[in-house]
Amino acid sequence: MKYETQKIAFWYFAVAMLLFALQMVFGVLSAYVYVAPNFLSETIPFNILRMVHTNALIVWLLLAFFGAAYFLVPEETEREIESPLLAYIQLAILVVGALGAVIGYFFGIHEGREFLEQPLWVKLGIVVAALIFLYNVSMTALKGRKTAVTTVLLLGLWGIAIFFLFALYNPVNLSVDKLYWWYVVHVWVEGVWELVMAAILAFLMLKLTGVDREVVDKWLYVIVALALASGLLGTGHHYYWIGAPGYWQWLGSVFSTLEILPFFAIVLFTFSMVWKGGRDHPNKAALLWSLGTAVMSFFGAGVWGFMHTLAPINYYSHGTQVTAAHGHLAFFGAYVSLNLAIITYAMPFLKRRAPYNQVLNMISFWLLNAGMAFMTFTLTFAGVVQTHLQRVQGQGYMDVQGELGVFYWMRLGAGVVVAIGALLFIYATFVPRRLELITPAGSLRQAAE
């Protein structure tokens, strides 16, 4: 850790991991309700379980983005964060908002648009926290060294804040509501979040592989150019059946198919950087997570997204378990893995230690990835069967769900493995331990940045 204020990141990562654990608990509970529907039905109904599961995910991903920014901006700009106090105030606002939202959910205090269930005071708190963050980090960046990594990262984070403002607009016309709801949901995860992702991955590649900055920067701009060129009009794949004009079926199909390109470019980028780079960095686990992000986001967001994005296919698969399969692997592959990569990389510096518990961390990597892959397969099969029985043959929804029990049992099993992997990851990164389970061949003793 070269700059004192990078320490701020530790607290963001710590809170993020607590919410990650909460997300896992509620994910497993929801998966259990799928196979034992009477469980908790009178105390915490499914809609509340799901709300906590998805909201905890979104907030911890954002907290980890903020933490990553506080970690890498000082190194990139070569100066301390403008105001550490503001950074901690921002964290306090977000913690109060997250706790308030979750506790409120159990008492039925929530709004009613998917993923935007936070009460108005929490939404306004998020806006205030985002403004504090943008001021703090933008001032640091303006006064310091300008790099492509900070520029793209900040553009992404500004985009997150600007597009979140649409969460405050809720027209009574459901179609118009949906039109702008996607301005938050799609433009975040298939737009500006990709800028944040690409910037953090570029930073990791700079550090882990030692490849020249000019090369990394060029890749970074190519990736984000592909992301926005495809992703903005790609929003059209959500506009097929909500009352929007028919031309979206063409535009959405074409541009959302192109959305696979930035993810493929990320695969090429990360693997060629590792191939080119001469550095033998001691933090192998961070490298594994970085490459894992590239591969799993390509499959989760890219391949599984393309699978049901063409309008004539989506006509049958829209809103089935196929969507659930894609949603799970895309969030995991792109954003969960990315944040676990930067946390794995940053924690040894934040704790002023050599990389530690790497073998445990790598075991958690395989548990999480194997569990998520299996979960995705089971949901995909469930979705294909559902699409055929319900959308092609016209059987009733509940009758069809009755046929899918075996898939939901397997999904529950996969979910338990994922939860164990998550807890193991948190243990491996936050609890110090001196001895590695397997002694590496010398590379751990080398110094590297």
Partner: protein, 150 residues
């Protein structure tokens, strides 16, 4: 080619391209907004009761179990066309009574079947919610869903 393609060119393509596609996206959004309020939805039928019904829908987070026009959770049936499934266009009175009775009789308590909570809606709220669901079913959704099952 990759060698002669410079970082500055990549950066310019990123800024220029993003701005270009953002402007197209905003223009098409404006057109879609106009299309929705004037063509594809029943603007004249968007009464106070439909608006109140949407608030009931949101207050109880129905979307975190159900889907509406295919969006939401996938735990409970699609409701964008529930009015049609209940025969609303042919016999609105009966469809309304059936839907209200359904919501009032929840949870079923049947072992092994997904449970819908009892939301204790007033008669007014039930009517508003049904009005909202009936209004949504009149949206021109380009022919989706493929059949009544939703």
């Amino acid at each position: 080619m990759w060698e002669t393609f410079t970082k500055a060119q990549a950066r310019n393509i990123f800024y220029g391209g993003s701005l270009f596609f953002l402007l197209i996206f905003l223009a098409l959004t404006a057109h879609s907004h106009w299309y929705m309020v004037s063509r594809s939805t029943d603007a004249a039928g968007l009464t106070d009761s439909v608006a109140r019904g949407k608030r009931v829908w949101e207050k109880h987070a129905c979307i975190d179990c159900h889907t509406i026009l295919g969006e939401g959770a996938y735990f409970a049936p699609e409701l964008g066309n529930v009015w049609i499934r209940y025969g609303g266009p042919e016999d609105p009175e009966t469809a309304r009574e059936l839907l209200k009775a359904w919501m009032q009789s929840q949870p079923s308590g049947i072992e092994g079947r997904r449970q819908m909570p009892q939301f204790n809606l007033s008669d007014q709220e039930l009517d508003d919610l049904v009005d909202f669901l009936a209004w949504v079913s009149r949206t021109n959704t380009q022919g989706w869903p493929p059949n009544k099952a939703g």
